[in-house]
Symmetry: none
Subunit: 201 residues, 4 copies
DNA sequence: GATGAATGAGCGTTCATTCAT
DNA sequence: TATGAATGAACGCTCATTCAT
């Protein structure tokens, strides 16, 4: 019992550190000093290193967790996703949920430990899987134009990332770019890839 | 006379600093120490600060110059660009020319001084101008599908940036992602936006 | 009863700490972190400080105990030691027994709390006592050359310590320097101090 | 000219750091913090690292220099050393000169970077060379007893080191142990190894 | 009494910036 | 003007010690 209480407390602190790191990084980026995370979490600087041997280790855990969480979330949308429309609508919902951190990740990925690339790959490939399933179905049904799936995917992701990375260009302050522009992105993208006879002729 | 010589000397050093900073940042990213730039330029560390009060100032100048240079280069392609095909082909040429630095810029822009945003905006709006001219002409000619210009633009840029930012995903080592994938990107994008009667019907 | 059990428990933990500290220090030196000792002992880090107010205090106890133990052991050899030959042979035996920790002690003594000096003094003076008894007997018998006892003692100890401290110079890895060189040291030393008529003349 | 002045100043600072490190380490041992050395040298903490990439590098330079200096000094005494008496007398002089640092070196050698072992080896082998030359000459002349040279050497060094390492045992405060005990050590050692007919018979 | 999570002073190191020359 | 040695604030990390449980 007592042991369990302790462990719970330790896990709470660990969780607190990771959650704080998550939110601080979301706000200020990955180059935030460990001391700031500690301060923000209301713990001592040394405590971080009692839970994570190095800052890289904290980052790796954060990224891995994030990849798992967002990956799982993306997996779930397979069920609802009978159509591209729905899949991408759900994708946007997920993105909005994780928007701040995800934006930092895709933006700073190249300066981060390798785990960042893995995280990115996990998220991307999970989405790609469902995307290609749905798209290929729609292509064979004739509702989506017959174009290479991977390029359709890269186009969608490129478009969304473009908005996420240039957030300050599109939105002021801390508004969600996905909230503001998601519907427009979606409708445009669909219009572009769909095989709607008669519409553009 | 002597003064003039000095000024020439000074301008030469300034130029040397900026050119070296450009190439060093292209290779190693924006977080390269100022001492490395000085070393690489063959000048003293202090010289940098004799020409630029702070590193931020150097960066601002660098970015502004880059914006001007790439902006000018993009302006030039208006002449050759009688069609989207040609415009984007030329755009890819320009990108390949500036690929390394441009990739760093779009990747690290958010951690950089505000000037970075301006630079980015200059480049982007210059391109956007020509893009919209050409696109709208083609739309009215019926060769390009009737879709919102700014979205067509963002899609193209998003797609290209997606490849530039995930260079290590697509290309090994230092190969040019534009050289390797440019043609595929172009042909796919054109296929997607073009109103090629008979093809998809 | 219960109290007594507790006390036994407490003494056991205390003993465990000291024994572990002894072996860990023997292997890794005195600069080993307290957390490592706790871990190795299979107790909590805090337990060390429940038994010893500071690490210095633990060290002091350790050193004092070691002094007593090795001192007692050295006392015992008085009985067997009818001759210098036997005394030193026994001394080497004792050294081999305590070699690892003893080497650390003489090597790091000066960075240690004052108790280290006392410990060292206890061991040294115990040995010195028996040494001088035997030596003086032999000198008066004429079997050992008439030289100042304390210098004979310091020479012996200096020689032995020289080998212990430069262990990596003489032996590879973890071999016992005393095992490897003890006999040579002994025979040489005896040859040097003995009054063997006819041999060197 | 100007360049030369600068270089001289830099060399002065470097020298100042090394000299201060030498004296601070002599007084307080090798575990002294870099900040203390900087403070004592009257320079900023960062300056140390402008001259030496790491503290290990400073130590290595210090040790290497010390080895060279003391090695050279020991080489010089070959000339004066027509006899063991003179050689060892001169050896003691050199030791007295370098006593504090040398004591720290032989005491803390095992916790130091590998360079320390090299330094120690340089000094030792230089001395050993001259020692064996002189000793073997004297042995063949019959003035020194016919004993293994390396053991005679180790005995002498062991005896001297014993006094140096137990300085606080023999001398109070900062007095030189060599100054106080050198003559006694020398005369005893010589008496022990010399083949003085008639004296002990 | 034992626990072990939390603490925080202190370490070696980096690097943009300053300033005497 | 150009130099480059010197600066010092800030960083990630260690570890003896504390204290609520």
């Amino acid at each position: 019992m007592r042991v369990s209480t302790r462990q719970v407390q330790k896990q709470n602190t660990r969780k607190k550190i990771m959650e704080t790191a998550y939110s601080v990084i979301s706000n200020k980026g990955f180059s935030v000093p460990s001391s700031v995370i500690a301060e923000e979490a209301g713990i001592s600087h040394g405590s971080i290193f009692a839970h994570f041997p190095t800052m890289n280790d904290l980052l790796n855990n954060l990224l891995s967790d994030f990849g798992d969480k967002m990956g799982a979330r993306l997996h779930m949308l397979a069920k609802k996703s009978d159509s591209v429309d729905n899949l991408l609508k759900e994708h946007l919902k997920v993105l909005e949920e994780y928007e701040a951190f995800y934006s930092r990740l895709i933006s700073e990925k190249n300066r981060l430990p390798d785990e960042a690339k893995t995280t990115f790959a996990v998220i991307q490939s999970t989405l790609a899987l469902h995307f290609s399933n749905v798209i290929e179905r729609e292509i064979s049904k004739g509702t989506v134009r017959k174009l290479p799936t991977h390029m359709l995917f890269n186009t969608w992701l490129g478009l969304v990332h473009y908005y996420l990375m240039n957030k300050d260009f599109f939105s002021d302050g801390n508004e969600s770019v996905i909230k503001n522009y998601g519907p427009e992105l979606l409708s445009f993208y669909l219009k572009m890839i769909k095989n709607e006879r008669g519409v553009y002729e």
